[in-house]
Amino acid sequence: MSLNIQKIRNDFPILSRKVNGHPLVYLDNAATSQKPQQVIDCIVDYYSNYNANIHRGVHTLSQEATDAYEAARKKIQTHFNAKQSYEIIFTAGTTHGINLVANGFSGILKKDDEILVSAMEHHSNIVPWQMLCERSGAILKVIPMNEEGILVFSEYEKLLSEKTKLVFVNHISNALGTINPIAEIIDKAHKVGAAVLIDGAQACSHIKPDFQKLDVDFYVTSAHKMCGPTGVGILYMKEDWGNLLPPYQGGGEMIAEVTFEKTTYATLPHKFEAGTPNICGGIAFGAAIDYLNAIGFEAIEAYENELLKYATEKLLEIEGLKIYGTGPDKTSVVSFNIEGIHPYDIGTIVDKLGIAVRTGHHCAQPIMDFYKIPGTVRASFAFYNTLEEVDALVNAVKKAKMMLS
């Protein structure tokens, strides 16, 4: 099925604005996606018609808001095929979810237990585990990657042992676009009794993971990369883990009963949802998922692959241009440099031409150290981008090269 791109583009008001006198070409989708009118309307509708605090009011507005929020949770459960809706914990985003799990393991891990992370993680999937190791005495080990930006599976297998308690890998690398073989990674980890957390921040706008089929223990992602609002995301955790891990933050919502002598905690998911949540954000996340499903993930994936293939071919025609992340399984991210030119300079010039790309280390300094580069220029495509926009990028990069060489 092919997509009607013009119709889709009309759903995104921001795509018709101009930047520096040029039509906006938004190619920073790996940082955050743009929002369709349907999601914007959902946010306006919530604040205009049924804004209220949830889970405790007996009045009508509170009931309506609670129903909508819980309906969104159910929608997310269905989308990702979680077994129970209470296995979906609303968070402030991916980073929050990771910290919640890392904190939960503080009391479980013992000295010399081992934690594995991949060499291509975002800082948010490195730092919380380093902090966890400092607290618990556990040891952090790194699954290496090769020149193509692919994890070395045989090395991963060697690192696994009965000491391994946790494995953390991103589903898709934000800096390279590599899709990691998470099903195999999870399977191998489970054979030694280790739990696995998958950082799906980059994945869920491109593909639709099936939590039960993957048999993943923890999966985190953010709404804002999936056409939803910022400040909301989910942590999926298997029911058993949810019952085992202690609460992360104390407060309202997460309690069953409070006296000054003792507090008993609420059951899942409320145990991990202290305080008033991002109600509107959760509901709008649901609207974003509806929007993406109406287009269809198969169609999105096929079209984005077409964009990736075209962009890769066209960019490689530029002399001296090198792409980082060249594995066969990748999403629509092209991270590149031109020999002798700093990525910041290219980013600055193409911005002047209305093109939004990301430059720098993409919060993944270990990857940049691996390639011995200060950073890259990263163009990341979404289903609302066009082949003409790829041409605009290529022309802008050529112009930048001319000015900077």
Binding site: H342, Y344, D345, K352, P374, M403, L404
Partner: protein, 139 residues
Amino acid sequence: MSIEVIQEELIDEFSMFDDWMQRYEYMIELGKSLPLIDQNLKTDDKLIKGCQSKVWLHSEMRDGKIVYTADSDAIITKGIVAILVRAFSNQKPQAILNAKTDFIDEIGLKEHLSPTRANGLVSMIKQMKLYALAYQTQL
């Protein structure tokens, strides 16, 4: 020449250009013509680490005036480094401390001095002023 005069001169030079491309090309030229910093001076203690690009800044006192030498790994950043060195180098510490940086806005390069840009330039100006303050207290 005083800092104010040099800044006026820079504003005049940049006012000759009609569009951003010419302005940037000139800035890139300025970057390329910046006297190379001695490799021995590109040490970590002279490094101002931005998230996007790096800047090295060295200063020394000659005949009561501060001489700055600087470099960057990105050429556009280096162009602005060159502009700042031209505006502030070879001046007395007190004059550097009193100097304003509004002229960067006037030549249409304001965005490069935004803290969110993280290119090291905002810290570079701060560091230039700190050196000036340090030398001033020694006088």
